[in-house]
């Protein structure tokens, strides 16, 4: 227990003096996670709206597929992206393997189905209420989707948050495509895994604490924005 307590004290010390390695790792983690979440929102929101409002053959199959992909194992995504980006793969010439960009690509693939599936449900619920009104106004499918996405914006923030949580906590995919290279692709989760395996509990614990605090703070921030925004517009 003394070792555990010492490790905790040292970890808080790292955080208190803003250790350079710790700051660098946290910064990269945030950059990768927020970029992946943004990309997934740009893809997932329209996809969810199309699945909710569109009427086309294969819509049911696509909906089941997106729902199923919510449970994608990160290591499988990492492996597939690795094969795509490796020198012999179709996108090997881009030279993206073991870069933060590759990590963003992998996390976007992981997170998009989560955001799309939750957005589909949000938009479908809203469409049940708006359907007749928007049709009576002569709104086409595109206008309906834009209207529903905007009016569901506060509920969609929760979908984005769920996606971000997944990206922030994920380790398998970024480990495979990023390679956990010091000062290049080392993020919080891969660093915790590495430091723990080496018995270096101080940095691992420090990062663990930062990860938890960041996750809580981001959730609180988005939920606060959601609640106050929803209250102001009675959404």
């Amino acid at each position: 227990m003394t070792g555990f307590g010492d490790a905790f004290a040292a970890a808080f010390g790292l955080i208190a003096r803003m250790d350079a390695d710790l700051v660098e790792i946290v910064g990269l983690s945030l950059r990768v996670t927020l970029s992946a979440t943004l990309c997934a929102c740009l893809l997932g929101f329209p996809l969810g709206a199309i699945l909710a409002v569109g009427r086309f053959p294969g819509r049911g199959v696509l909906t089941v597929l997106v729902n199923a992909l919510m449970g994608l194992p990160p290591v499988v995504v990492g492996l597939v992206v690795y094969l795509m980006l490796s020198r012999a793969g179709p996108f090997g010439a881009l030279g993206l393997l073991y870069t933060p960009t590759a990590m963003i690509v992998a996390q976007t693939i992981l997170v998009t189905p989560i955001i799309a599936a939750l957005a589909r449900q949000t938009v479908a619920d809203l469409d049940a209420e708006y359907h007749e009104t928007l049709r009576s106004m002569g709104a086409g499918a595109g206008a309906r989707m834009r209207t529903l996405l905007w009016d569901g914006r506060f509920a969609l923030m929760t979908a984005a948050l769920a996606g971000m949580g997944r990206a922030l906590a994920e380790v398998g995919a970024v480990m495979i495509v990023g390679g956990n290279i010091d000062h290049v692709t080392r993020v919080m989760t891969t660093a915790i895994a590495l430091e723990t395996s080496r018995g270096e509990l101080t940095l691992a614990l420090g990062l663990g604490i930062v990860l938890m605090v960041l996750s809580l703070a981001l959730n609180a921030l988005v939920m606060g924005a959601r609640l106050s925004g929803a209250r102001m517009s009675h959404a």
Partner: protein
């Protein structure tokens, strides 16, 4: 054979339903309905609950496709027909943003929207609440926004499904003023109502439905003074059941 035709209805009518049949829950809720709406003035559709009044409005608006029969009108632009529901569904935005959204949907060019928006807010006496969240307004105010939103399309035919059914007298008066203004601007108005007083105040023509068919078509003066059909007589005597 179902015919949904954008073509001229009979002379003097803006829209005509011919032999419209609609089956729901194992019964014909519209049972070969023939209904012509006069081009001029306000037409009230009356009848007991379940007579098919609201459904006939939805058929006219193109929201419900009948199983059989024909819908004839010369209104080629979808925005020629506007519909206001008993319970308005406003967007989760301010009043101003609701109307701006409607103008965008109706294809009003961006540079004209600001001017039209001002006109609409004035017309509906909504300027004081323009920046309030639309869903925070009272029921009467929400219905006024819904009316103005429908009129933003400058429709030729305005369909109103019991727009004052759940409103107090003051809010009802405000909605009725808007209806009269719209009619004065040349919009044909079709109003579903149970309220004989409202029909007296607003309607030029009455169409009485019972069990999905038209049982009486008359001028409002004549009908409200002395309805001819036994169903309408029984309805006003409080004896007509579905």
């Amino acid at each position: 054979m179902l015919r949904l035709v954008a073509s001229n209805p009979s002379p003097g009518a803006v829209i005509r339903l011919e032999g419209v049949r609609l089956r729901r829950g194992g019964r014909d809720v519209l049972d070969g309905l023939d209904l012509a709406i006069p081009q001029q003035g306000i037409t009230a559709i009356m009848g007991p609950n379940g007579a098919g009044k609201s459904l006939s409005l939805r058929v006219m608006a193109g929201l419900v496709r009948p199983d059989d029969g024909g819908v004839f009108h010369g209104l080629t632009d979808p925005q020629d027909i506007a519909l206001v529901f008993q319970k308005p569904v406003l967007l989760r935005r301010t009043v101003r943003a609701n109307l701006r959204h409607a103008l965008a949907i109706y294809g009003v060019p961006r540079r004209e929207r600001r001017k039209r928006l001002g006109e609409l807010l004035d017309f509906g006496r909504l300027a004081a609440m323009a920046d309030s969240p639309a869903r925070a307004l009272s029921g009467g105010e929400q219905q006024r926004v819904a009316m103005v939103r429908a009129l933003a399309a400058r429709p030729r035919l305005l369909l109103l499904d019991e727009p004052t059914a759940s409103l107090d007298p003051q809010a009802t008066d405000a909605i009725e003023s808007l209806i009269l203004d719209a009619a004065a601007f040349g919009t044909t108005v079709v109003l579903v109502t149970h309220d004989r007083g409202q029909a007296t105040r607003l309607a030029d023509h009455i169409r009485f439905l019972h069990k999905g068919t038209l049982t009486e078509a008359a001028s409002a003066d004549q009908f409200l003074l002395a309805p001819k059909s036994p169903e309408a007589q029984a309805y006003f005597a409080g004896k007509l059941l579905l």
